[in-house]
């Protein structure tokens, strides 16, 4: 079983889509498809092969290309893919998507497949222990209602227990379901209409939802989610200096790899790293930076720096007062 195989190549994928088109294609149609699905320089590799007939998969009629294939087939699954599916059947989250009947059907079709991995072969040593209740029926129903509403851009009525224990009730349109690997929890990114009629983005924990009901109302023109998230980032990023001792550079680069960042070398042993973040990420980022101790030095922004210094000051005072 190989992952790095030509059968998964981008060129195969582009050709597959071209060959399965029911209508004849012009060279311009082909070019557009390659630009959409291929790599930046795929055009110069693929077009000559089609034009000179080396990849003899089209009937050429002047400027018109017709697929020689008789069917519009899906690529059959490889052993690698079957083994992958088989492994997923043992994942506790699969029940959020498939019911028992579907799981049984899939299991039967994958009877001879060997799972690509077993759950017990992996050990997540720093994952939090309060995972979401994936087998709970209410949780599963809520998840499925949200999933369906997200795809239809449908409003939902959510009855929610806020962190302080109070119950709140609001209408939202699900934008994305966000899973945290560290917390092993789902959260909902949802749009909510403000009093002024504008849409704002909120984050809700799925495990805190008591009831979720679909409403017969569709959001016709949803806002641009990524633009909203990007606009929420502080204009002034976190500016860190990494002192490359105790392998700190490599550790920090990997640790912060899931943030948008930009790193430059300042000095032989000092690197500057800019990290872009918003208010929701602030506390978590502060804790992450703190975990590095003196290997990271915060240069800005001022807000982050002051929060950090405040924690340090509290720490110094707490020990000082105790010694007194």
């Amino acid at each position: 079983m190989e992952i790095f195989s030509e059968i998964y190549s981008c060129y195969y994928q582009v050709l597959h889509h071209l060959l399965c088109r029911k209508t004849p294609l012009t060279i311009e149609d082909i070019r557009q498809e390659i630009c959409r699905e291929g790599f930046e320089e795929s055009l110069i590799a693929i077009i000559p092969k089609l034009e000179n007939g080396t990849w003899n998969l089209f009937e050429k009629d002047g400027n018109i290309y017709r697929s020689k294939l008789g069917s519009s087939f899906s690529m059959p699954l490889s052993n690698l893919e079957k083994s992958y599916l088989k492994a997923l059947l043992s994942d506790p989250r699969i029940g959020l998507f498939l019911d028992q009947l579907q799981l049984d059907s899939l299991n039967e079709m994958l009877d001879s497949a060997i799972p690509l991995w077993k759950q017990e072969q992996f050990y997540y040593y720093d994952k939090f222990t309060d995972s979401d209740p994936y087998t709970d029926e209410t949780y599963r129903n809520n998840f499925r209602t949200l999933l369906s509403a997200q795809k239809q851009k449908r409003y939902v009525d959510i009855d929610y227990t806020a962190p302080r224990g109070n119950r709140v009730h609001h209408h939202y349109v699900p934008a994305r379901l966000e899973y945290s690997v560290k917390n092993d929890k789902f959260r909902l990114l949802a749009w909510k209409q403000t009093k002024h009629g504008k849409m704002k983005l909120e984050t809700l924990n799925l495990s805190r939802m008591q009831h979720v009901n679909s409403i017969n109302k569709i959001l016709t023109s949803p806002p641009d989610l990524n633009a909203m998230i990007k606009n929420s980032y502080y204009a002034d990023p976190l500016r860190l200096h990494i002192i490359n001792k105790r392998n700190a550079l490599e550790r920090a680069m990997l640790h912060f790899a899931n943030y948008e960042k930009n790193t430059t070398k300042v000095d032989e042993n000092i690197y500057e790293c800019l990290i872009y973040y918003n208010k929701n990420m602030e506390t978590e980022l502060l804790i992450e930076v703190m975990s590095f101790g003196p290997m990271l030095k915060i240069m800005g922004n001022d807000r982050f720096l002051q929060n950090f210094k405040k924690r340090l000051k509290q720490q110094k005072d707490i020990i000082y007062n105790q010694q007194k």
């Binding site: 059968i7 320089e41 899939l106 992996f122 999933l147 590095f292 707490i318």
Partner: protein, 418 residues
């Protein structure tokens, strides 16, 4: 540059370059000392081609560098999956791929000879039988088509039930859309969703380390060896020094950190009779060897030991068997209950006890308390005391605090100036 090819034969070189550009992103052409400038130029051009929307170029005094600007909170897929789709192939490979699958798709069972004949009669393309047979055998080995012997004839057929079942069940496609982002071997889920013409527009994943995908083929070899309970030879390139060495060990489990972005192989090395963890990104190749007779015993022993592991180290700096760390914290339980929750959910089995009003003690025994320091530091501002039977850990904690007070110029009376 005249012979530049967008696709590549080998993944291992690609893996190193992508990792360097993605994880570091500050190295200039001159800092890639291991390879010739020509190799660097070609690799950089490929990367720019594969990952065009994510490439950022910066011009600095020492030259220009490229990096990958990837913000995982804005993406519905992992852009690094692209690098898996870059394997080169021959003209015959791609043409036969489509022609053979097309012939077999509607349920025909055919021999290699019959396939060759039909390619000529129906598609007017001439191939020699050996080439067709070789391709059919390769696809049968990959599981894409079935191979059966009926009498003296070897026939090939295609079972499309599974692909059709998946295409007709949207919730199964949703599951794939989720797992391509959130599970191991996400690349396989991604390839499946592409094959089935489905695209994730529903799920985002937080705390996801996209760079892990580069290790998936190494992981595949390790799991294969683990499934067969085999010894392996690992070729390891040190991340700190540029040294390569070979280690023989018994692979037992994959240890993953959801915080630091590191993944490890936990293995048993017979030479020093110890469990050891090797970072997956440092493993360059895996060669399976003979079956280990003590595999089950070792797994059981590892399971027994795991409760004393904080991270991946089985021995502390002071070489005690176990060390005890005790942290006393100031927590106002009425307003800071989330701190107690953190101790419970993140404390890996450590005992939390209320010892006075607003004062809690966390205590744990582990092999290597040094590994705990990054987590301990996250409670800065609340730590009344830290005690550890490994005195070097205690010293490092307080020394690091002093250093930070100096760096940020913190003195006792300045709180209200902040």
């Amino acid at each position: 540059m005249s012979n530049f090819q967008e696709l590549v034969k080998n993944f291992s070189k690609t893996r190193e370059y992508v990792r360097d550009f993605f994880v570091y992103g500050f190295k200039t052409r001159n800092e890639f000392k291991m390879k010739s400038p020509r190799t660097y130029d070609n690799e950089r051009r490929r990367l720019e081609s594969w990952l065009a929307p994510f490439i950022r170029k910066d011009y600095i005094s020492r030259g220009s560098n490229i990096s990958l600007a990837i913000d995982s909170s804005l993406l519905d897929t992992n852009p690094l999956f692209q690098v898996w789709k870059t394997k080169s192939f021959t003209d015959n490979d791609i043409v036969l791929h489509f022609l053979i699958l097309d012939l077999l798709w509607d349920g025909h069972s055919l021999t290699a000879e019959e396939i060759t004949d039909r390619l000529l009669s129906r598609r007017e393309i001439l191939f020699d039988i050996q080439t067709v047979r070789r391709k059919c055998n390769a696809y049968a080995k990959e599981g894409i088509i079935d191979k059966k012997k009926v009498g003296k004839r070897v026939i090939f057929s295609l079972d499309n039930r599974l692909a059709l079942w998946l295409t007709s069940h949207e919730n199964a496609l949703d599951a794939l859309a989720f797992y391509q982002m959130a599970g191991c071997f996400g690349i396989v889920g991604h390839l499946l969703t592409e094959q089935l013409n489905y695209r994730n527009q529903t799920f985002r994943v937080k705390h996801n380390f996209f760079v892990h995908t580069l290790e998936e083929e190494i992981l595949l070899d390790l799991l294969e060896a683990m499934n067969h309970k085999r010894f392996v030879n690992l070729t390891i390139k040190s991340s700190k020094r540029d040294l390569t060495n070979t280690i023989t060990c018994i692979p037992l489990q994959i240890f993953t950190s959801t915080r630091s972005g590191r993944r490890f192989l936990c293995a048993y090395t017979e030479r020093n009779s110890r469990f050891t963890c090797f970072r997956l990104d440092t493993i360059k190749s895996v060669v399976s060897l003979e079956i280990s007779q003590m595999y089950e015993d070792l797994l059981e022993k590892l399971n027994r030991n795991r409760k004393y592991l904080w991270g991946v180290s089985f021995e502390g700096t002071e070489r005690h068997h176990l060390d005890r760390l005790t942290m006393t914290l100031k927590i106002d339980a009425s307003t800071e209950h989330y701190i107690l929750e953190r101790l419970k959910h993140e404390g890996r089995g450590g005992a939390v006890t209320k010892i006075a009003e607003n004062t809690y003690q966390y205590e744990i025994k582990v092999f290597d308390c040094n590994e705990m320091l990054p987590w301990v530091r996250t409670f800065t501002g609340r730590i009344l005391s830290l005690k550890c039977t490994a005195k070097s850990v205690e010293r490092r904690f307080y020394q690091d605090l002093q250093k930070m007070y100096q760096i940020y110029q913190i003195d006792e009376n300045s709180l209200y100036d902040l």
